[in-house]
């Protein structure tokens, strides 16, 4: 699955590039599903990027595990879910030294959550790189009840916590690592725009 190209939007909307190597610097790499391909291509451009890399991979039904392991990272760990990988990822972040690079590859939800967690422990924004791969589903926060709904693919959508119909905004919270959803029919109760598939 190739890198996703998103259409330009407001300045708070995150933009994702292609991962670029910082050579054999200490690195934490977190990938989910098709995100593995971003790491495989990164190592293809510069194999030394794996010399001191701690790779954490959530396969999510993909078969990239063996290829990733064969790139010979310093540490390789596979977890069945992001929740299961969370403790290891948190420990890696908090134990990191200045000069450590963070490489993230996967969906917006993964990149947003992992970046927010890294920034919260003091990781400098300039040391975090991300590449979008896979589903364009979004992690949305309801600005009314504050509940998070993951894997949102339509606009509007129903908040899984309070049941309001929410408009999918491009406005993004770096602190929460999630997009903000706002009640779509607050001023005209019951008048709800037609549901559409989210576009990149």
């Amino acid at each position: 699955m190739p890198r996703t190209e998103f259409s330009p939007s407001i300045s708070s909307r995150p933009v994702y590039g292609a991962l670029t190597s910082h050579g054999a610097s200490p690195a934490i790499m977190l990938a989910e599903g098709p995100g593995a391909e971003a790491l495989i291509e990164l190592a293809g451009r510069d194999a030394s990027v794996m010399d001191r890399a701690h790779v954490i991979f959530v396969p999510a039904g993909t078969g990239f595990g063996d290829t990733l392991r064969a790139l010979n990272p310093k540490l390789y760990h596979e977890a069945p879910s992001m929740a299961a990988a969370s403790e290891r990822f948190t420990k890696a972040l908090t134990d990191a030294l200045m000069g450590t690079r963070l490489y993230l590859a996967g969906t917006e939800g993964l990149i947003g959550q992992a970046s927010a967690q890294a920034l919260a422990v003091g990781f400098p924004a300039g040391a975090i790189q991300s590449e979008h791969r896979g589903s364009i589903a979004r992690l949305m926060q309801c600005v009314h009840c504050k509940g998070m709904t993951d894997n949102v693919t339509t606009d509007p959508f129903i908040c899984s916590h309070c049941g309001l119909t929410l408009f999918v905004r491009d406005h993004f919270s770096r602190r929460l690592g999630a997009f903000q959803g706002v009640c779509v029919d607050a001023e005209t109760p019951g008048i709800i725009p037609e549901t559409q598939e989210i576009q990149p």
Partner: protein, 315 residues
């Protein structure tokens, strides 16, 4: 620039070359509090000349009873520090600006590493008081040539996080050792000679630190140079800048209206458009980008000079 007349209430020697001055309000009223790393500009009426020098505050940011500065005597300098050392006495009234901070702590940092060279210790003395109150991990590294030169020693708290490197005692500062192995979320602050700041930046870059974690302050005294003429675009007036005068001082002497703040090429307040320039601007500031400097369409009058046929500035 808002300022107030303050009374000198105490002068003491910190080292053979450095004196501490304390200022208080003549009515005993409390002065505005500040944040660690802030500075004030002190005005010194020296005969025909009105000197203005920026000094870091070394007192406690949360103490409003008085402001303290440390002044190093520069015998070959432009005269401001000599004036402070030889002409100012306890009881004198001097005009002092409100504190301004161009070198504040990044409060998101998980740890602060402070690196001082020589008199560059001054902004860290107030920062330290703030850090100790915040209870955030820190390290201070203070490098000086000799212990007689290390004027800040007496003002530093006796703490294991404070490291003093005296080079003539063979204890040189090893930047590689200081910057490697720091936990993620560390910010580094450097104040001192240009060479020290450049070495910290180079070492940090080599170890993969992003620029956002690096902070530095180098207040520059306006460097001397050959005299030059400047034309003021709005009036056609021609002003001569003397060899030991800055363009900013020449503009002030000629009553040309210009705003300023740090007077040391760091804050950007006196940035001035150049409408025509036949020659070379000697940029000495830390404000303009390299591209802006080479374009020669802007000048920082506080520290930069000109060599060539003709320059007209938009004032």
């Amino acid at each position: 620039m808002s300022s107030q007349m303050l009374r000198v209430t105490e002068i003491s020697s910190l080292s053979p070359l450095v004196k501490l001055f304390r200022f208080e309000h003549p009515d005993g009223t409390s002065l505005p509090l500040f944040s660690g790393g802030a500075h004030v500009v002190v005005e010194m009426p020296d005969g025909e000349l009105l000197r203005r020098n920026a000094y870091s505050l070394v007192s406690d940011p949360l103490e409003g009873a008085g402001y303290e500065i440390a002044v190093r005597r520069e015998d070959t300098g432009r005269g401001g520090s000599l004036y402070m050392h030889s002409k100012v006495a306890v009881g004198d009234m001097l005009r002092v600006s409100m504190p301004l901070n161009l070198f504040s702590l990044d409060l998101r940092a998980r740890k602060h590493v402070l690196i001082a060279g020589g008199i560059g210790i001054t902004p860290f003395l107030s920062q330290l008081k703030q850090i100790l109150r915040l209870q955030v991990p820190f390290e201070l590294h203070y490098a000086a040539r000799s212990s007689a030169e290390a004027a800040g020693l007496g003002l530093l708290p006796d703490l294991p996080q404070v490291h003093v490197h005296i080079s003539d005692q063979g204890n040189r500062m090893d930047l590689g050792a200081i910057l490697s192995g720091q936990p993620v979320g560390t910010h580094v602050y450097t104040c001192g000679p240009e060479g020290l700041i450049a070495s910290v930046d180079d070492t940090a870059a080599r170890l993969g630190w992003p620029e956002s974690a690096l902070h530095s302050e180098a207040f520059l005294a306006p460097p001397p140079g050959a005299p030059f003429d400047v034309t003021i675009a709005s009036t056609g007036q021609k002003i001569t800048v003397g060899p030991h005068q800055s363009l900013l001082e020449a503009l002030e002497a000629a009553q040309v209206d210009i705003d300023w703040s740090c007077r040391g090429g760091a804050c950007g307040r006196c940035e001035t458009e150049v409408s025509s320039c036949h020659g070379r601007i000697e940029h000495h500031d830390h404000w303009l980008s390299d591209d802006e400097k080479s374009a020669q369409q802007k000048i920082m009058p506080c520290v930069s000079r000109f060599v060539g046929q003709e320059i007209t500035i938009d004032r």
